[in-house]
Amino acid sequence: MDRHLSATLKRAQEPLALGAVGSMLIVAALLPFVFLVVNLVRAPAELSAGLALLGSREPWFVFLRSVGSALVVALASMLVGMPLGLLLGCTDVRGRKAALILHVFPVFLPPFLLALGWFHLFGRSGLWGGSEWTSGALFSLGGSVAVEALAFAPVVTSLVALALQGIDPSLVEAARVTARPGRVATRILLPLAWPAAALGGLVVFALSLSELGVPMFLRVRSYSAAVFARLGAVQYAPGEALVLTLPMLLISIALLVLERRLVGPRSFSVLGLRSTGKTVLPLGSWRPIGTLVAWAGALATLFPFVGLAWRASTGTAAVQDWIGSGVQNSIVPAAIAATLLSGMAVVLGRAIALRRAGAKALDALTVLAFVTPAAVLGVGLIGVWNRSGTQPIYGTLAIIVIGFVARYAVLPTRTFALAVARASPHFEESAAVEGAWFLRRLVRIVVPLHAGAIVAAWLLAFVFCLRDLETTILFYPAGSAPLTVRIITLEANGPEPVVAALALVHTSIVAAALVLGALAFRPRRRA
């Protein structure tokens, strides 16, 4: 009997583990939406008000405008990211690796910090601007599109570079025998990198559509800001805001389907089976020009830091008076959430890569939670967790951790799924045939085999949690504002040099985390 029970338990290890992770996700990410929908059904007035609003022309005008500008942002970042990814991915431009790292870095920062940096360069009292014209250009739809395109272009660059590093060098060598580098680039390499660039474009589109900080800072009307305003107006109407998010949810679902159809089956191969990092396309006499272009493009994304540094240097006000416990409030929940998330990613990411039952639905849930406007998720989280029995969660950093788990699960999960999909399934299957049950395989085979991917997943989750503004601003416990929230609340009438300095503090934390992560990530040869 006892033996029978233990055998049953062993067989149930995998479904139980996946079930546990799935339940965590459902509690963190799905419950808030269920709460909102139930409330909406209970308050038909809000439902009909929301529907009436959707029945009018105005919201659709703003919506189409937002979709249009997100499209332009996606196209522009592809325009920047594809050639840069090509130059930085597989040619022999000088300092290629350094340029790639510098170029990609701003992706890990909240975009409104970059907007703030541009403001200190081109705003009315900016370092290089100071004129009405530059300021007017920045505070316009065009300015917001440009800021976002430069902020998100590294997504495309890095995906294209990764994809090109994974291609078979002999493919290019065969072409180089007969064609000049330019022709090889346009005829061979770019078509090969196209799926990666398209995936990058999709990601940028989603990021831009849900971006809140940049359009608000640059005072540009956007749909996600309008949804926020629906919550922020004197009439508190979360149900109406939920109805207003329906068009965005439709777009999210469309993106998900598009990703599955166009890129999904290939997305693992898109990213390259192995990164050789070798030069496959020497530029010859074009090398100096290529180097110049690559570095100019790479550094363009770093300009905002010049603005921030300049503004920070103009003030004498003491940063320590204003920083409070912002650093700690940022790092602690981000680290806890990242740790939790990478643990979940091992189970769920593996299940997705191996196409286990239920994994696909959970994958879709993580994607939707990521692209849905954070304000809606936030109001749902308050509704679910602000109860008398759950004060140890709602009143503490735990609620921030839950918010992070809900919103950012997709990133570490997909990272880990990618690693598993790229490795031979036989590593784990051999272990199973040898009699090792799921947990033993997970601990002894899967985790050590993909230790690098786990570090990468942890880092990605950590950095994105640090970057968060719009999720936590709704429910961070009183007195525990994370650094990003402090920066944006101080930005209203706060001393500009201090705000710039705080932005730089945030930047340094992210940079330090990435450097430490890179050191841990460095492949070690076993002797």
């Binding site: 055998a7 062993k10 067989r11 031979s424 036989h426 590593f427 299957e429 051999s430 272990a431 199973a432 045939v433 040898e434 009699g435 090792a436 049950w437 033993r440 002894r444 085979i445 050590p448 085999l449 230790a451 040869r525 076993r526 002797a527």
Partner: protein, 252 residues
């Protein structure tokens, strides 16, 4: 005496495609059966069905008479089948030493440490890898890795050993050497084995019996003589011509 492995009218579909249909096969104790077939014929899938990594859509798999999977269900998962496998890519765990690779399955069976040590050193001696037990797979030669993979499977003393084209990536002298070693070990330990390959010359060295799998169906089974006496398909005729040019029809 029971049959270690018996496959009974197994069918397996992927999407709209039949990978295996009506495959029946039984393997007697201490017998080595080669499954021959062109690539894409379903050989590896058949092996995965036997291992319990996938469930057959229809049909039965029996191990020593016990039904272990049937009609889309798995009654005994791979962990409980007592089999061992060598894949084409070997799948040596890169983060474990040679010893670690061999000990993994023994530890999963909760064998006492001294039994593990004894078995590991005996097997390593048999494949001439004594002294390399603390190396990582990355620091071994191709032939050494192959031997570690075989040793890792044998150390478990499985009820049957399944080999999925384990030697197909090797050069001819190395392949010959390893085939010799494998044959000796299989014979002296009286191991029941299934050897999947598209290469008849390899199969001839090891197998007592042959099964030809084409487009998901077993087209013929028997000894080499039985097979060649009356080759029913073009694949089989081509195989025969390859090893026995005399049998080729003379061109006019």
């Amino acid at each position: 005496m029971t049959t270690p492995i018996s496959v009974d009218r197994v069918a397996f579909r992927r999407g709209a495609q039949d990978i295996l249909s009506e495959v029946s096969l039984s393997i007697d104790a201490a017998q080595v059966v080669a499954i021959l077939g062109p690539s894409g014929s379903g050989k590896s899938t058949l092996l995965r069905v036997v291992l319990g990594l996938v469930a057959p859509d229809r049909g039965f798999v029996r191990l020593d008479g016990e039904v272990v999977s049937a009609d889309g269900r798995i009654f005994r998962p791979p962990e409980e089948r007592g089999l061992a496998v060598v894949f084409q890519d070997l799948a040596l765990w890169p983060h474990l030493t040679v010893r670690g690779n061999l000990a993994f399955g023994l530890a999963a069976k909760h064998l006492p440490a001294d039994v593990q040590d004894e078995r590991i050193s005996r097997v390593l001696r048999r494949v001439s890898l004594q002294g390399k037990q603390d190396r990582y797979p990355a620091n071994l030669s191709g032939g050494e890795r192959q031997r570690v993979a075989i040793a890792r499977a044998l150390v478990l003393e499985p009820r049957a050993l399944l080999l999925d084209e384990p030697l197909s990536n090797l050069d001819v002298p190395l392949k010959r050497e390893l085939l010799g070693l494998l044959k000796e070990i299989l014979r002296e330990r009286r191991v029941t084995a299934v050897y999947v390959t598209h290469d008849l010359r390899e199969a001839m060295q090891l197998a007592h019996r042959f099964a030809v799998l084409e487009a998901g169906r077993i087209s013929q089974t028997g000894t080499l003589d039985e097979l060649f006496a009356n080759p029913t398909t073009a694949f089989l005729r081509a195989l025969r011509e390859d090893v026995d040019p005399v049998s080729a029809p003379t061109s006019v």
